[in-house]
Amino acid sequence: MKTSNVGQACPLDKPNLYESPALRNATGAAIRPGGLSVLKAALERFPFKRGARLLDVGCGMGASVALLRSRYDLRAIGMDLSRVLLREGAKRVASLPLAQARAEALPVADGCLQGVVCECVFSLVADSKQVLSEFRRVLVPGGRFIMSDIYRRNPSDNKQALPCKSCFSGASDRERILGHLIDAGFTLHLWEDHSHLLRELAAKLIFMHGSMSAFWEQFVGGSNGRQMEQAVRTMRPGYYLVVAEKT
């Protein structure tokens, strides 16, 4: 069987990128470029009142939820699809309010949250329009939405299929992302580039795994590691922070 599965899911015997120790050993508990630093930067400029209700969609092991609760005194809860990450989060801090849910169907009442956080997750969701619609539904009018994720800085490469489904294959370019936000009824307060954090993570992964192709081989199979590395390089991935408000 040929393994050049362009645009398809990763081989079944390979771990999901975000669940794998190969990535988490480099990122720590907050599985994204820059760890908690991007969220902290957003909250310093767009703070919430103490006691505000926030939901972290795609919370993973709950590192951001723990930060929001302990440092900012917010009533934050987290939801994620991954049982693996939720289980590990519960082992780390058993009292954290984390639950399993899909971003497309949040088990949350209408208009009950002051904030939604979504970090390095939007590029992974199956239906991005439905996810934004859900974020809008659960927010109060004037509620804020903080999102950070990977984006394509080479817009002409927007339709390139990658050898493995990941946050890179689901990444879009700046104009499309902002268009989706505005179409969904959000007002943009901030778009900020944090691509240096992605480059730093890449350098760290190279040191830990020998090369980027060696890192990718663990998820796409040996023969496709180089192909994945080149495809990712062609899209010139960057990392953004967005803060938007429900209007």
Binding site: A203, K204, I206, F207
Partner: protein, 68 residues
């Protein structure tokens, strides 16, 4: 690059005479920085960077940080 205990024990800092130990080292290049575990002198902090490391992973990491 992973150094074995045996390999590290073969190296001593010429200035201090101390045996090298694995230590968390910060690399800075262009506007980026990251951490890695490398053999270093426990007294003066001098880091061992072998030719293999400089020509291999370090060169690739520099390219990653250059943002081309």
């Amino acid at each position: 690059m992973k150094f074995s205990e045996e390999e590290i024990q073969n190296w001593k800092c010429e200035t201090c005479g101390e045996g090298l130990v694995m230590r968390k080292v910060e690399f800075s290049y262009m506007k980026g920085s990251f951490h890695a575990e490398l053999p270093a002198c426990p007294k003066c902090g001098l880091v061992l960077i072998t030719e293999e490391l400089a020509m291999g992973k370090m060169a690739e990491a520099e390219k990653a940080l250059e943002d081309k």
